[in-house]
Every structure is written in C-alpha cells, then in structure tokens.
C-alpha cells in the first residue's frame, strides 16, 4: 500500500489528504512542526481579538483524523532524501514515503533590516507569531505603541488586532496609497481614509530604515527611512509580504526557485514528489496568474487537484476564473475576474463609490469589445457563482451592469445600490 506523506498541515496539505482518502485506501501521514492539528491560519487574528479561542479555528474535531485514518506526526523536517525516499527530522528520526507532497506554505518576508530579529519583532503568519504577540503586546500598558511595516492584507489585519486592545498603531506603508499595487486608486484611497477613521497612524511613502534595541535586546523604537523620524514602540510587526517556506529543501535534489518548481501537474523535477499551495512555483503563471499564488483558495484548489493525480487520474492544475476576498477593518472586499490597479492597454474601469465612503465597486471591461473582465466590490457582498457564469459566458459590461442585482448577496432587508450604480454607469458613458 502506497504511503503518502504530506509536509505541512495547512489548507493545501489537508485538502490533499482528505481527497486522497476519499479516492483511495492509501496510507496517509501529515507532518507539521507548527501544531498538532489543522487550524485555519486566516483566523489567527480572531484569537488575539477574543472573538474565538484557538480550538475554534480548527475545522475538524480531533477524532476526525483517526476516523479517516490520516496519521498526524509532529516534527520538523530537516532534510528530504529523495534517493532513499526518506524524510529526516530535526528530532533525529526518519520517515519513508512512496509519494511526497510538499505543502509547507510561506514565511514572512524580512529584507535585512537592522534589528529585524530582535525581541518584540514578529511577523503574523504562524501560530508562534501569535504567541509572540500575546507575550509582547498583551495590553496597552505593556505595549504603548506598535509599528507595522508593510501595507498588505496581513498588515491591516495586524493593525485591526492591535486596535482591538486599544494599542496605538503606526502603520508604515511603502506605497503612496494602501495596497495600490493591487487596488485601483479610488478603492485604495477609500481604504486609506477608513484606516485613519479607526485612529490608526497611517504613514504612506514610508519605509523602515532600522529597528533600535534597548539594553535587553528588545525593540524600543524604529527609524523611518525617508524622514529619519524615530518612533518609540514596544512591538514591530513585519508584514511586507510572504515568500515560500522552503529553506530546508534547498539542500535536496528538488529544484527550487523562489518556491518549489512544479509543472502543471504540480509535479517537481523528482518523480513522486509534488508541491502545492503557497510554496509551489509554476514555471509560468497560468492564465495571467502569478507563478506563486499565496492565497487560501488556490492552496485548496491545488490540494483538490494533486489528490486526483496521486490517485491515478493525472490532471493539470487548471484553476477557473480568479476570485479572492479580504476584509479591511470593517469593510469586506471580494473580487471576481481581473481588475488591475491600472487598466491595461485595452481595458477601461468604471468606478462607483457611495457617499458614506464605505462602499464602492470597480468594474473592468474591454473598451473595444465591451466584454466584462472583472469586478472589485467593497462593502457590498456579491455572488461567486453568478460572476463565474458571466465570465464564462463572456457577458458585456452593459449586461452585467444591468443585471447586477442578480449578483447581490447582502443580507435580507439591506439597502440596495444597483440602480444607483447602473445610472452612474449610464451617465458616465454619455459624458465620455
């Protein structure tokens, strides 16, 4: 009987394991150094905020694994010997496999800042980061100010977390506006204002120069590159993106670039070794996607796909229309299809914003063919399946705008904005 070993118990590895179990009787072992059981990484923030306890972030009860004959091993893989098909653990023991799935996820980026490894400096990715934060920032007496470096999705979540305990936050964002490498200008500007409405000290165009230590080796302040200003703080959050967590693989025969190199079948250069999720790097991005996709949903999709291949139905990773979601403090964000921060050559954007400054949408379409290409929606929930169909059917932007109410997914009795959006859309077309 094949022994399938999966390194990493995140969404990618666990999805792969669940699907392999559904499709086969193979022996399955999931290895993790982080936790005993699978938990939802995206929910770590809610533990610190007191919305949930750690056990609530675990989607399956503890008996689930034994019942489904999925063995769990806690250990840190030090080296993969692909010749002997054996894992060597830091703890000294070994584990042999027939097929190996690497699903080790990401780690927070550090760009060689002076002081980046001091006490009180942390990312917000692993459970250990959360424990660290709890230690250094239990309340606003122990932590009088925190500085967050990096204006992305994790940065704003960390800001929300600290805000929930009334800890003052200074938020350093390298770009001229929050996440404007991804979000179009109007949306990004709205989020800037929303961050400031939460009394977060948002500093745009601000890079970290260095973190200064006190006599105990703990961070006591940071210096801003551009202004030289020193900001006194007790905690520094490094949230300038993530990169594949693959250092332990570099010494093996498995080909790596920024991530573990895989083909469309999620196979590495070594037979019987696969990689999925954040740590996998495609040779070329698929359908306009990036070669490395560090997103919950893509990790899940790769897990679903690789399970098929391992169980005898060899298929390519061929994701459908792009979608994603996030929440910026109180404002929910969903996206379907492609909306880039700047319209590309053939594209045009239509932007609508509600006067209360917490809801807006941006629709991207082809200005020659009028084909609908994607939508960003803030503060209005929309239906995934409806947009997925419209994208498949290559609907025109006019059709989409006219039928937008069919995609509304807000709770019952909510005010609707589709007619306001539609008339704004028609007006804009007439003035052009």
């Amino acid at each position: 009987m094949d022994h399938i070993v999966i390194i990493g118990n995140g969404i990618s590895g666990v999805t792969a394991a669940r699907h392999i179990r559904k499709l086969s009787d193979k022996k399955i072992t999931i290895v993790s150094a982080e936790t005993d059981y699978f938990f939802s990484r995206t929910a770590l923030m809610y533990i610190y905020m007191g919305h949930m306890k750690f056990e609530h972030t675990q989607p399956y009860e503890d008996w689930f694994w034994e019942k489904n004959r999925i063995d769990l091993k806690k250990g840190y893989v030090k080296h993969i010997d692909t010749g002997a098909k054996t894992l060597q653990f830091a703890e000294g023991d070994t584990l042999s496999y027939d097929k190996l799935i690497i699903a080790t996820g990401s780690k927070p980026n550090k760009f060689g800042w002076p002081g980046q490894d001091l006490d009180g400096v942390m990312g917000m990715y692993h459970k250990q980061d959360l424990e660290n934060l709890e230690h250094f920032a239990p309340n606003n007496k122990a932590c009088k100010r925190a500085v967050i470096v990096g204006g992305g999705l994790i940065g704003i979540e960390l800001a929300e977390m600290l805000n929930s305990r009334n800890i003052p936050v200074t938020f350093l964002v390298r770009e001229s506006s929050f996440w404007n490498g991804v979000l179009p200008e109007g949306e990004s500007a709205m989020i800037n204002r929303h961050i400031q409405n939460h009394h977060i000290d948002l500093r745009l165009n601000a890079n970290l120069k260095e973190i200064i230590a006190d006599q105990n080796g703990k961070a006591k302040s940071i210096i801003i590159q551009e202004t030289g200003e020193e900001i006194v703080c007790d905690v520094v959050g490094l949230t300038a993106g993530v990169s594949p967590n693959i250092d332990f693989i570099k010494a093996s025969n498995i080909e790596t670039g920024r991530g573990v190199k895989v083909n469309r079948y999620l196979e590495t250069n070594i037979p019987d070794v696969y990689a999925v999720g954040d740590c996998a790097e495609q040779h070329e991005g698929i359908n306009g996607r990036r070669p490395i996709e560090a997103v919950w949903y893509t990790g899940r999709m790769m897990g679903e796909t690789v399970a098929q291949t391992i169980c005898g139905n060899r298929i390519q990773y061929n994701p459908g229309h792009w979608f994603n979601s996030a929440k910026f403090l109180d404002i929910e964000y969903q996206t379907y299809g492609w909306v880039f921060s700047q319209p590309r050559e053939n594209e045009s954007h239509f932007h609508w914003k509600h006067e209360d400054d917490t809801k807006c949408i941006t629709v991207c379409y082809d200005k020659h063919t009028n084909q609908f290409l994607g939508i960003n929606t803030f503060g209005i929930r929309m239906r995934h399946d409806v947009f997925d169909n419209w994208l498949t059917e290559k609907r025109s932007v006019d059709y989409v705008m006219e039928h937008l109410s069919e995609a509304n997914f807000d709770p019952e009795f909510y005010k609707t904005y589709e007619s306001a959006i539609f008339s704004a859309f028609k007006n804009e077309l007439q003035t052009v």
């Binding site: 969404i11 559904k22 939802s40 995206t42 929910a43 809610y46 533990i47 905020m49 007191g50 919305h51 949930m52 306890k53 750690f54 609530h56 972030t57 989607p59 959360l130 424990e131 709890e134 239990p138 309340n139 606003n140 007496k141 929930s164 305990r165 009334n166 800890i167 409405n197 939460h198 949903y297 899940r300 999709m301 679903e304 098929q308 139905n313 298929i315 061929n318 994701p319 459908g320 229309h321 979608f323 979601s325 996030a326 929440k327 403090l329 109180d330 929910e332 969903q334 929930r381 239906r383 995934h384 997925d388 498949t392 997914f409 807000d410 709770p411 019952e412 009795f413 909510y414 005010k415």
Partner: protein, 521 residues
C-alpha cells in the same frame, strides 16, 4: 495556549457609571426581596425598573456608538462573564436559583398564599399590576415584567451592536413588539375585558404552550362564548395551518427568532452567551435524541390529557375518546406515510429513527386507549402525567436549565435540546421549506466565526467550507453567522426547493472539468 486575560478590555468610566445605575435598580429589587417595606411602592418600582433600563441604555450607547459600525465581538472570550469564567458561573447560579424559587417556592418571593396579601418582591409589583389589570401581582406577573424589561433593554443594546445590519434590527424590533404586546400587555387587557378567560399569550403555540388543551383551559375558553371559542380555534389553527404555511415560506425563523418569547430573550439578554453552545458532533447527537423524546412526550401527554376529559357517548359530544384516538392516529399516519413516500431519499439513515419514533407514539396511544380510563392513563392518574410534564419539561428544562444556564450552555439550550415546538418546525424546515443559508461558491476560508457564533451549536463552517448550503432543522435563522462572516459567504434566503441541498466535493473556482467529474458522480 495560555492567553492572559488582557487588561485592555477594561470598560470605560461611562460604562462603569451605567453599570452602577443598573445595579442600583437591581439592589432595590433585592431589598424588596428581603422584605423591605417601601413606603411608596409605585415610586420604588418605577425607580428600580428605570435604573435597570437606563443603565443598560447608557452602557450600550457608550459601548457601540463610540465606535464605527461593524462586528463588535472583541474580547467575548476574554471576559469572565461571557467565557464561563467566575462571573459567568456566579450569574448562572443566581439565575438558576431565581428560577427554582420562582417555579417551586414563590412564597419566598412574597406571594401571598390563601388569600393573604403579597409581601416582599411580589408586593413591589402590585401597583403596576393594579394599573394594568386591577388585581394583585403574582410571581408570574413579576417574572413577565422583568422578562419584558430584559427583552426591551437588551434588545436596544443588540440593535446598537448591529446597527449596520437591518435584518438584525428588524427581527429584534419584532421580538420586542411581540413580547411587550402579545406576551405582556394583551393578556392583561384580556383579563380586564373578561376575567374568566384563561391566560393566553396568542403567539405561544402548542406544544410550546403545553397547557392550552388542558381541561381547565379548554373549559375556560368554551364557557366564554364566541370569544373563547375563537381563541381556542386560533390555537388549533396556529399549529395546524398558520405554522406550516409560514415555515414553508420562511423557515422556522419566522417564529423562533422573530416572534417567540423564549427566542426573544435568548437573542437579546442571551446574546453575550451565544458562543458558548457546544459545536461537537456528540452534542448534535444528544440534541437529536433529546428534543425528539420531548416531542414524543408532549404529544402523548397532550393526547392523554384530552383523552381523559372526553366521553364515550357520541350523543353527548361528537368528539368521543374512540374518535379522538382514531383521528390522532390517522393524522400521524398520514404525515408519516407522506414523508416516507416523498422524502425517503433525503432522510437517508434518519428514516429508521423517524419510523421508530412513529411506532413508539402509535404503540403508546393504543396502549393508552386499551388500558386508559377517565381517571387513569398508563396506569397513573392523568393529572400526574400532566404534572410531571409541567415540572420536568415546562419548568426545569425550559426555565431552570434553559435560561438559568445561559452563561454555561449558551443562550439556546432549551430551544436546541428541549423545545417540542422547535422540533416540529425544524422537521418541516428540513424537509418542506424554501429556507436555507446559501454558501457563496468557494469563498469560505474556514475561519470559524460562523460556527463560533451559532447559538444552536450548528457547525456552520463544516458546510460552508464544502461550498454546501446549510439546511438544518435546528437553525433558527438568527442570521448572526452571516453577519460575522468576514468574507461574505453566508446569506439567509427563501428560494425554490430545487437544489437547496447541494453537497459538493470540489468547490467553485477550480477546474470546471474536475468539478463536473467529481461533483456529478
């Protein structure tokens, strides 16, 4: 992981003052309880209730209106009172003790016995009772008043907490209205108009209202002409006509989280405890056995009670014991056969349990009919059976455990494990209703906020992360899972029955061919 209780969740000075005002109001009630004889009862009662209400209002305004609109669950698992800490247990003990005294020892609350006038806490409420209905207060009047105040004051708090969410605001306004009007004021006014009518909260439907078909109740109605007849007919129509229609269209939420008083208290005063319900599979199994056992008990008990006061002679009254038993068995058989014929597939393994339940009820009814007399059913006095139900289900389960244990079991322990009305509505919701919670394609991130905040202990995430709609008999449609979802994944809605239950293996967003291959197997 050892998470220190952070000091940062300390309440503000305004909130401290508000808390002090509220406690002052409770203190007046406590003084009355210990037989302090206030000179002007009306004044002190007004002060007590006003202090409690004002304290809650000021506290809520400071807690929610000083922040931007959004989800306000910060620190619920840190605060002692809402995370089964010391304050939670203290509150649980206080509430439980209150319920025990209320149900079993009302004299300690000051109820005057054998015509004696009230003393203590109950006498404090005499002025209000006189104002409304011209009679002295009872322990039930005291309880009803405090219950109504709790729903109104904490309902206001809840509406501020969810001031960005109109669904939450409307249904809260609805339970506040039904509690104040239907449960509290209208029965008092009905008494003023016709003091012979039995107490009747029009929105309380059999079998939740387990005494409506008692002999004294039915006689009380029937001896009051057309009004009484109309009321008892309304009671029958409520369960057999109105309930099925509304549940088909909107799910059981129309009752459980828009109308019901038990639900009303759970959704308002009970809201801080909603996350305490157990989401374990074992709790779900217990729930299914327990709630259906109570349903069987309540059906058999009610039939037995009616049976004892019906006669044998069809010339005296058309509904005789024989005819009644035949009608009940016929009706149950019709439902059973219909479900088995139309919904056999959907029921799956559960069909077996349904069949067991059906045959147990029929066997019990036949046994009763063959051995029962006017006085005795199941070889015990009919009245004893009814009394046992009243004590164990009506008082201990729904009151003492259901509400007293809010800070331990969560706010809907009675609704989830015991309420026979919820069992009937849930059965219909699962099989014959347009209601579902729709899952938004593949957008779930398994964070668990939905499951955590489900007061009925449904593991909502288990469905959402599979891209599957949530169709569960226990769902009361409170809508909080949808509200707290950070990714806009859940929506309560009424849509067609087709495709309502949609288990999927591969979620939307992946390879369309793979989805076809796996999901259509």
């Amino acid at each position: 992981m050892s998470l220190a209780k952070p000091d940062a969740v300390d309440i503000s000075n305004t909130q401290k003052i508000a808390l002090a005002i509220g406690i002052l109001g409770l203190f007046i009630l406590a003084l009355a309880l210990f037989n302090t004889n206030f000179p002007n009862k009306g004044l002190f009662l007004t002060l007590a209730l006003a202090f409690i209400t004002i304290g809650t209002i000021v506290y809520s305004r400071d807690a929610y209106l000083t922040k931007l609109e959004g989800i306000k669950n910060d620190a619920v698992w840190f605060k002692s009172i809402s995370s089964r800490g010391a304050w939670g247990w203290i509150l649980g003990v206080v509430l439980t003790s209150f319920y025990i005294v209320l149900y079993f020892y009302p004299k300690y609350l000051g109820l005057g016995e054998n015509g004696a006038s009230n003393t203590g806490l109950i006498s404090l409420f005499d002025p209000l009772s006189h104002l409304l209905s011209g009679r002295n207060a009872s322990q039930w009047f005291v309880y009803g008043t405090l219950y109504t105040i709790a729903i109104l004051a904490f309902g206001y708090k809840f509406m501020l907490k969810y001031r960005h969410n109109r669904y939450q605001q409307l249904r809260t306004a609805s339970v506040m209205f039904f509690q104040l009007g239907f449960a509290f004021l209208i029965p008092e006014f009905m008494y003023v108009m016709n003091s012979d009518l039995p107490y009747y909260d029009l929105k309380s439907i059999w079998p939740l209202n387990y005494y409506i078909f008692d002999e004294w109740s039915v006689k009380g109605f029937l001896s009051n002409g057309n009004i009484g007849l109309g009321l008892i007919l309304f009671g029958i129509i409520s369960i057999f006509v109105i309930t099925p229609i509304l549940t088909y269209k909107y799910g059981k939420r129309w009752y459980c989280s828009w109308v019901c008083g038990c639900g009303g208290l759970a959704e308002t005063a009970g809201d801080p405890f909603r996350q305490l319900s157990s989401k374990k599979m074992s709790a779900w199994k217990l729930e299914r056995w327990l709630i259906h056992t109570v349903l069987v008990f309540s059906v058999v008990m009610t039939v037995a009670m009616v049976y004892t006061y019906l006669g044998y002679d069809h010339n005296a009254f058309w509904l005789t014991k024989d005819l009644f038993i035949a009608l009940v068995i016929g009706f149950l058989t019709l439902i059973f056969a219909g479900v088995m014929y139309f919904k056999r597939k959907e029921l799956g393994k559960d069909a077996k349990y349904g069949a067991i339940g059906y045959f147990v009820v029929i066997a019990l009814l036949l046994l009763m009919h063959l051995t029962g007399t006017t006085e005795h059913v199941f070889f015990v006095k009919g009245g004893d059976l009814r009394a046992a139900y009243g004590i164990y289900i009506g008082s201990i389960f729904s009151g003492v455990i259901g509400t007293g244990f809010y800070p331990i079991l969560g706010s809907r322990a009675w609704c989830r494990f015991g309420c026979p009305m919820a069992a009937i509505l849930g059965f219909q919701q699962r099989l014959f209703s347009k209601f579902r919670i729709t899952t938004n394609g593949g957008q779930c991130i398994s964070c668990g906020n939905c499951s955590n905040s489900c007061e009925m202990g449904i593991d909502v995430r288990a469905y959402a992360q599979k891209g599957e709609n949530i169709v569960r008999s226990s769902c009361v449609g409170c809508g909080i899972c949808s509200a707290v979802c950070p990714r806009g994944v859940l929506k309560l809605e009424n849509d067609s029955m087709k495709g309502r239950i949609n288990p999927t293996e591969i979620l939307l967003g992946n390879d369309v061919d793979l989805m076809d291959l796996v999901n259509k197997k």
